[in-house]
């Protein structure tokens, strides 16, 4: 039995073990019995000690976090194609972990009743299960182990904080760069450069016979030991030290220390007598440990697929969590995380451009707006971006715009893949309204500044925080120059911008109590972004624009600059700077805690100290709004 949907399910499953070992008709039959389940973010699939369901699960789309109940640290993330919740069904025991949707997720639930006979009948499937249960890896056949099989493991009683490095298999590069013994050294060096690797494997009859690293080239060629015209055989280190592919992080570290080498060659069975399946570098090990921004940065920069970037971003989130736990100053944290975010976006753009049919026809800049533009984006939130490209002759205008719109569409889609939600207001480079040439942008911004209605003020307040993430900085600074000149010509614009900044609803009521949302999906929640962060951000923008200060986008830094420019208000501005940092930190912690954007806060979940901290910032918000009222004479235009 089959139908269009079951065929679709089968088509997906056949790419992943153990389903790839099923006979065509077995797979069809199994797919027909599947239920497709939709799980919204943070909804629970099963919880600790729950009796096993009738199904086990395969992630079709999204991600599932497996964790010990009541802890915030996630033990493992199951991605597309990963199986979880199978062992308790086979062993007829209760679930050992809680499985929770880490984002919006679609699951295929496969009934154990239908699967078990197949597992017993099909030897390969049976072997897969036995091996995965025994080795505790989720997928022992895969060349890329991505974590332990926590969902079906029973020895997770060790402290989750240790991250179980001694048990976690490492992810290594399967993209082998190789050469033959008689390859010329120059060719070897070129191959290494093109592939951006620090080591190349020398292969003879499919077996690894030697390895050449950067160090070999330095020690043997530059010292004159081997002439530059020599061959790979002369420089390689031989024999190769090989290891089996089922290596854990700790084992890999030990192996490298023991032999004092930076690369391990992994082969089918761990001996040099079988073909190599991968190379593991010190870098790979460091990424797996994931507690070092420099390592993550390099991982991002050499990453060739957006899919892989997505998992690196999980590492970035772990880093962020660690920083907050250790109470590192938020300013430093936002610097580091923003750098990593920036690098990620840059890398996405690089990958996309490389895969485009043609190079960009003219110079362009990728502008990120909103929180990312202000370096205040710590969590994955919406993407707000725009494209600015060089002016072209009129007859080329359409063709050029089309190219950049297409580029924008692909980039925003890839950004979505790695976890940046689409902007609900379509403020993205894929939208013709946000993809312009320099002179078009000048026109648009002039229009906003000279006709400051509510929409124009809103648009400017979003756009004017732009920051160049990729491409030509000169184009952007020309645009900035134009904006400052226009603002000077139309001083009334600032008044309107200031009044826009006062439109945000107030955080507290008459009795200094929190004002919560009256209805909608977030009824009775406190809107931290709208009621507390936005007033501070908006005010900083107006004030800094009125001083014609370019290139400071970060709100806290803007207030610090203001403190410098207006010494008479120094203390007040420093209080504003402090408040914006405190609120950002507050939002980030809340967001990490609840795996969302941290925007809406359930007040009853806060403790007294947190509430007091929040309220303290409200006083500052009130004061900065009063300052805007007086300085820009808002009453005149409102009245």
């Amino acid at each position: 039995m089959k139908n269009t949907i079951s065929e679709r399910v089968a088509d997906f499953l056949k790419n992943f073990p153990p389903f790839n070992n099923l006979e065509e008709n077995q797979l069809q039959k199994l797919s027909y019995e599947v239920s497709i389940i939709y799980k919204e973010n943070n909804s629970i699939i099963f919880t600790e000690n729950e009796t096993p369901h009738e199904h086990f699960y395969v992630v079709h789309k999204g991600a599932i976090a497996l964790a010990k109940k009541e802890t915030t640290s996630v033990l493992d993330i199951c991605d597309e194609g990963d199986i979880f919740g199978l062992r308790p069904l086979m062993a007829k025991e209760n679930y050992k972990l809680e499985a929770k949707a880490h984002e919006e997720t679609i699951l295929y639930a496969i009934p154990i009743k239908e699967f078990k006979p197949i597992a017993l009948e099909n030897k390969q499937v049976g072997d897969f299960l036995i091996e995965s249960f025994a080795s505790n890896t989720r997928n022992p056949y895969s060349l890329k182990h991505s974590g332990k099989l926590y969902g079906i493991s029973n020895n997770v009683d060790t402290s989750p904080e240790s991250k179980l490095l001694d048990l976690q298999p490492v992810r290594y590069s399967t993209n082998l760069v190789t050469c033959a013994e008689n390859t010329k050294i120059k060719v070897v060096a070129n191959t290494m450069t093109i592939n951006n690797v620090g080591c190349i494997l020398v292969i003879k009859e499919n077996l690894p016979v030697g390895i050449i690293t950067d160090k070999d080239i330095r020690n043997k060629i530059f010292t004159g030991l081997v002439p530059i015209t020599g061959t790979a055989k002369e420089v390689m280190t031989s024999p190769v030290i090989t290891y089996p592919k089922e290596l854990t992080i700790t084992q890999a570290q030990m192996a490298m220390m023991k032999s004092n080498i930076s690369h391990l060659c992994l082969t089918e069975d761990g001996t040099p007598e079988t073909p190599a399946v991968g190379i593991l570098s010190k870098q790979d090990v460091m990424v797996a440990i994931g507690n070092n921004p420099a390592v993550l940065m390099r991982a991002i920069k050499i990453c060739a697929s957006t899919k892989r970037l997505r998992s690196i971003r999980h590492g970035v989130m772990n880093l962020l969590r660690g920083y907050l736990d250790e109470n590192i100053p938020i300013r430093l944290i936002s610097k580091i995380i923003s750098e990593l975010n920036d690098a990620t976006i840059k890398q996405v753009i690089k990958i996309v451009i490389k895969n485009m049919d043609a190079e960009p026809p003219v110079r362009f800049a990728w502008l990120t707006m909103g929180s990312q533009g202000r370096s205040e984006q710590l969590l994955n939130t919406d993407q707000d971006n725009a494209i600015l490209f060089e002016d072209v002759p009129k007859k080329k205008q359409k063709e050029t715009t089309d190219y950049f719109l297409k580029l924008g569409a692909i980039i925003t889609k890839e950004l979505n893949t790695i976890g940046y939600e689409y902007c609900p207001a379509e403020m993205m480079a894929s939208n013709p309204l946000w993809c312009h040439s320099l002179s078009e942008w000048k026109e648009v911004t002039t229009h906003w500044i000279s006709n400051p209605g509510p929409d124009e003020v809103l648009l400017s307040s979003i756009f004017f925080d732009y920051n160049v993430t990729y491409g030509d900085k000169k184009l952007a600074s020309e645009l900035s120059k134009h904006i400052f000149e226009s603002v000077e010509k139309h001083p009334l614009f600032l008044t309107h911008l200031a009044s826009g900044a006062l439109q945000n609803p107030s955080p507290s009521g008459f009795f200094r109590d929190f004002l919560v949302e009256q209805d909608g999906a977030h009824k009775d929640f406190f809107d931290l972004k709208l009621r507390a962060l936005m007033p501070l951000i908006d005010a900083a923008r107006v004030l800094i624009l009125s001083h014609s200060v370019k290139s400071i986008n970060n709100t806290a830094e803007r207030y610090e600059k203001l403190a410098e420019l207006e010494p008479q208000n120094k203390e007040f501005y420093l209080a504003c700077s402090y408040a914006s940092k405190a609120l950002l930190k507050f939002r980030t912690i809340q967001g990490l805690l609840h795996n969302d954007s941290g925007r809406f806060i359930a007040l009853e979940k806060l403790n007294k100290e947190e509430k007091i901290k929040l309220k303290r910032t409200f006083k500052t918000i009130k004061e900065v709004q009063d300052l805007l009222q007086i300085r820009f004479q808002i009453k005149n235009i409102l009245g």
């Binding site: 269009t4 939709y38 919006e104 929409d455 999906a521």
Partner: protein, 225 residues
Amino acid sequence: MKLFQKKKQTDLPAFWKDYSNQFINKLPVNINENEFVIFDTETTGFSFDKDRILSIGAVKLINKNILVKKSFEVYISQTHYDSNSAEIHGILKKGNKECITEIEALEQFLTYIKNHVLVGHHVLFDIAMVNEALKRNGLPKLKNKTLDTGLLYKRTLLTTAVLQKKEQYSLDDLAEKFNISKKDRHTALGDAYITVIAFLAILDKLKPKSLVDLIKKQKPPKFGL
């Protein structure tokens, strides 16, 4: 009027009476207790009187759960046939799919949908096509409540002047927004699948309090303070 209908009821086939009797039961208030039937039709064209339904595909959604084997897919043998639209849908008049007659398809469809809410993308078109088919076979119109993912999707968008909304959003637009693979696009069941995933994502965004609330949300929001 009522008398007239009653009189006519007696002439109607048993499957219609079974279908009609389902509506004695009230629909549950809670969204998750409701069964939704997400469906799509492929037709020979857009004319209600000239064109015919080529196939109907549908899935049932119960508590955010879709059972693959409970999906519905029929192909209808054709008398009227327009070569233009067959190209879009890839269903040929004498394709290799097993075809049944229109009345058989309608009987199966009514038995499948019962009194559940019908969900579709621009659902009124599909409803109208089915109603025309019912009329041709001497049967009254469908009685089910309907939900249009096209209208509901618009409600998930921001109500701000900054965003220029399109008049209509196609199923392709939705598939792109929600990252749904467009495989099997333009087969009835394939489109029904895309629609159900989009519907689930929309529900997550709108968070309706009840079924009535969800049906109401199809209308544009009232402005005011």
